[in-house]
Amino acid sequence: MYRLPAIFFLLLMTVVVVGCGDQHSTGDNIPSPNGSDLRGRLTLTGSSTVAPLAAELGKRFERLHPGVRIDVQSGGTGTGIADARTGVADIGMASRPLKDSEMDLTAHHIAADGVALIVHASNPVTEVSAEHVVAIYTNGAHNWNEVGGPDLEITVVHKAEGRATLEVFLKHFKIDNPTVKADVIVGDNEHGIKTVAAAKGAIGYVSIGTAEADAKAGVLIKLLPLNGVAATTDNVASGKFLMSRPLHFVTIEDPPPLAAAFIQFCQSQEVHDTIVAQYFVPVPH
């Protein structure tokens, strides 16, 4: 009797060991016999800003081509670019222009996104000038009454190094990152919005698309205009709102046919409604 458990254990181990060996094997990009319909699997990784949009576009593409599966994973622009280069992903998603060191890759412009300054909804301030923004972020101003607001301590909300919105913000106001004296450093846009909504004296900057949607949904934030131009997706589209960034799909120079077809689909007129529904701005091609 006492031998039985040992045999079961052995069997179990065998099952486990055999199970480990057989990894999933997927057929990539097998062309269908008639050649008219696309088949295969596309993997997209990268910017958490682009990921929700790419997922929506992917769903539409899958409906048009039932033989295609599109997987979207978010992990930041850096990951997207690295994955596109190493081939881990067919397409990388980037929320900034390519740097000089990344010129071996090709960027495909999909949409645009603006970065807006946000404050708590109860803050009576209607606009903060560029000099005041610089002063607030580089420790020159500690109270809203120094920049024409109420007597309220300023909580400076900043982003972690490497974030695309941070680069857009620093470039626009010509601030050198080490000179910034932040009170809170946040990760993604939602984290920034929740932080500002929770502190009456806070100021931060996030993606306009996300902020506009949250403000409409009743989150206690207010988007500040820039040089008199309101922070709206419409003004980003018309090019009037200057603090903005491109959203890219990044591939190797000669992407496989399926990836090329998907990119062409995402740049076409017919997906503009999806881009707008995701609070981004379509760009003409």
Partner: protein, 291 residues
Amino acid sequence: MTPSSPNTLFRFHIDRWLTLITRGAAIISAAVVLLVVAFLAMESWPALRDIGLRRFLTDESWHPLSGSFNLVPMITGTALTTTGALLIAVPLGISSAVFGQFYAPPWMAVWHRRLVELLAGIPSVVFGLWGLVVLVPLLAPLGGSGQSLLAATLVLSLMIVPTIALTSHSALSSVPHELIAGGAALGLQRWAIVWRIALPAGKAGIKTGLLLATCRALGETMAVLMLAGNVPRMPDSVVSPIRTLTANIALEMGYATSEHRAILFVSGLVLLSVVSLFVLVIDFVGGWKNA
């Protein structure tokens, strides 16, 4: 019951196979740790070679994209949040176990234990969200934004209380009944039984709980990220924002490229050293020896 055929040769085979398999499994589980260390060392090697370990401790600030790499504020942040959380959670957790085991009426002990188990099951991101929406605005009047060392420590201690309480509870409940009954027969009061008999007898189990709780506190990322403010600066009060080593990696890894990535792996390597140090300290702290 008749024993099955006494084929000793066959049994020997089984034993031999089991020895091989368990040995293999043991080697694999130990090798995983070594592999992780090797991987961390390999990934961070370019940064260590080009920058040198010393600059990670002596640079002016943490601005990896502008060439300064001081990790000391993050090491301090991790050490402070973990120590603070342990200071709050250890008395709470052990008291909770003692209460459930020796003072509570049976029906209350059962419900108390169920509630603590429920607390253990709450995911860290829920703790983080709760802290951000409820606790942070409450702490804001103390100064600063409310996202601070204090907020992170408080929530972290809530997260490790159930680990300590549950392991201490099972340690105390496995103390042989004869010991307790013997104490009672000698006329000892309840606190003396707890303090002189039950706690010393259960200390091996309690210590394991402490280790698990410490590791959870050191490794916790999401909740701390949402609550600590994450400014990589030495804190000057409990309401100052701090950044932990885990938050440092989580905040920047997604967007980091080439050298920045290697530098973040150094951060991981340092975290691993801090964890080992804490484990060693707990292992050798006076009174917990030979458990």
